[in-house]
């Protein structure tokens, strides 16, 4: 047991709490980028105002406090604490030990810099070693190739291809279900991704 083993801090980014006032302004800008919103999930993309986001943050913290089935983090740069994204574990089923995972890097200029990869590796360790979950799942529309690559690199396997389950831009896309099991994560190189690069 090493009590100082980092839990929330990587080398480039860290997992951090919400800052309701400041984050709402920044995330509102992200939500006005339809491409970002469509990559995130299959819900209807729509821009959100800072007050709407503040309400959402309140709801998120309430759910984390009361329902204990959501773990939500912001992703911030270590050098200046600037907000670059979010990561969460949701739809947790405690009896079966599963959860869904989701993360987003909001500004296109912040992508392809390894922030998402590092946040994902921190979140995986949190899920498997702190929450003692067994299985993490993610659903990715086939048009989100960067997302697919990120999760596959982390060891996630494609388990299900729900044919034509998504309708966007006047055509049908498959929805891919991926998952990573604790045994696979423990056995893979992914568990020590952060340590290896430090």
């Amino acid at each position: 047991m090493d009590i100082d083993k980092p839990l929330f801090a990587g080398s480039l980014i860290c997992l951090a709490p919400i800052d309701r006032e400041k984050d709402a302004e920044i995330e509102s800008r992200w939500t006005h980028d339809a491409a970002y919103m469509r990559m995130l999930d299959t819900e209807p993309a729509r821009p959100l105002s800072p007050p709407q986001l503040k309400k959402r943050y309140e709801a998120i913290e309430k759910a984390m406090d009361k329902d204990k089935n959501l773990y939500y983090f912001t992703i911030r740069l270590r050098e200046d604490d600037r907000l670059v994204g979010f990561a969460r574990l949701h739809r947790i089923g405690w009896t079966n030990g599963y959860a869904s995972i989701q993360l987003g890097i909001g500004d296109p200029a912040d992508r392809r810099k390894g922030y998402g990869r590092e946040a994902l590796s921190l979140l995986l360790r949190y899920a498997f070693e702190e929450l003692n979950l067994y299985r993490l799942a993610v659903q990715i529309p086939e048009y989100n190739q960067p997302g697919l690559a990120l999760f596959q690199e982390a060891g996630f396997q494609i388990e299900v291809r729900r044919r034509e389950a998504v309708q966007r831009e006047a055509r049908r896309w498959d929805l891919l279900h991926l998952a990573l099991l604790k045994d696979e994560w423990s056995a893979g190189p992914h568990a020590s991704l952060y340590e290896a690069r430090n």
Binding site: T95, R135, I158, V160, R161, R162, R163, A165, V166, A179
Partner: protein, 200 residues
């Protein structure tokens, strides 16, 4: 247009008095085997009143995402189970769940017939593009029934269930509108040229 789409060859889909439905749900809930086949939640027991509250609340919704039907046999008019469809309108996708609480009616094609009626409802009335379901790896009877109704395997959620000390898989199956139309020998109707333009 004159087909009664709620009618199958052995069963029909009905709406029931919530009090009647709550009564049978409460009884079926006490059948552990039924519950272990039905869903991945830990089996729980609820009063008839509590179950009725949920059904009432569901029925009050103005734009429902969920369509709950009871299943009755044509012969003898027995209430033997239920079907529920959860719709994602934006993408025309729905998840379906079925449960026959009366064990005497298992393995006789009643569930398959009910599912076929539900698929016709999904594609001919709700105009969905596809229907999805999940079935446990230890439920081969249901897997055969779904395959017979036209569902195709789309993959498996590995070791998603934790039951009786074992990790078990959930199989995901799906059926597309095009597949259902073809199997039902229904030609997709082409809109005559000019009709849509004329509406502008």
């Amino acid at each position: 247009m004159n087909t009664n789409i709620f009618l199958g060859s052995r069963v029909r889909l009905t709406a029931e008095d919530p009090a009647v439905l709550a009564e049978v749900f409460a009884r079926w809930d006490r059948d552990a085997g039924f519950k272990r086949l039905l869903d991945d939640a830990p089996p729980m027991l609820w009063s008839v009143e509590k179950i009725k509250e949920w059904i009432d609340k569901d029925l009050k919704k103005e734009n429902p995402r969920s369509f709950l039907f009871a299943v009755r046999t044509l012969e003898g008019d027995q209430l033997i189970g239920f079907l529920d469809l959860w719709v994602n309108w934006m993408h025309g996708d729905a998840w379906v769940g079925i449960g026959l609480g009366e064990r005497d009616y298992w393995g006789n094609g009643f569930g398959t017939d009910a599912m076929q009626v539900m698929l016709r409802y999904a594609f001919m009335e709700l105009n969905l593009h596809r229907v999805t379901l999940g079935v446990f790896d230890y439920n081969p009877r249901a897997q055969r029934s779904y395959a017979k109704a036209g569902f195709k395997p789309e993959g498996r959620l590995r070791r998603e269930l934790h039951r009786q000390g074992q990790r078990r898989d959930i199989l995901i199956m799906g059926i597309l509108r095009s597949e259902w139309l073809e199997a039902s020998h229904i030609e997709p109707v082409a809109v005559p040229a000019g009709v849509l333009e004329g509406e502008k």
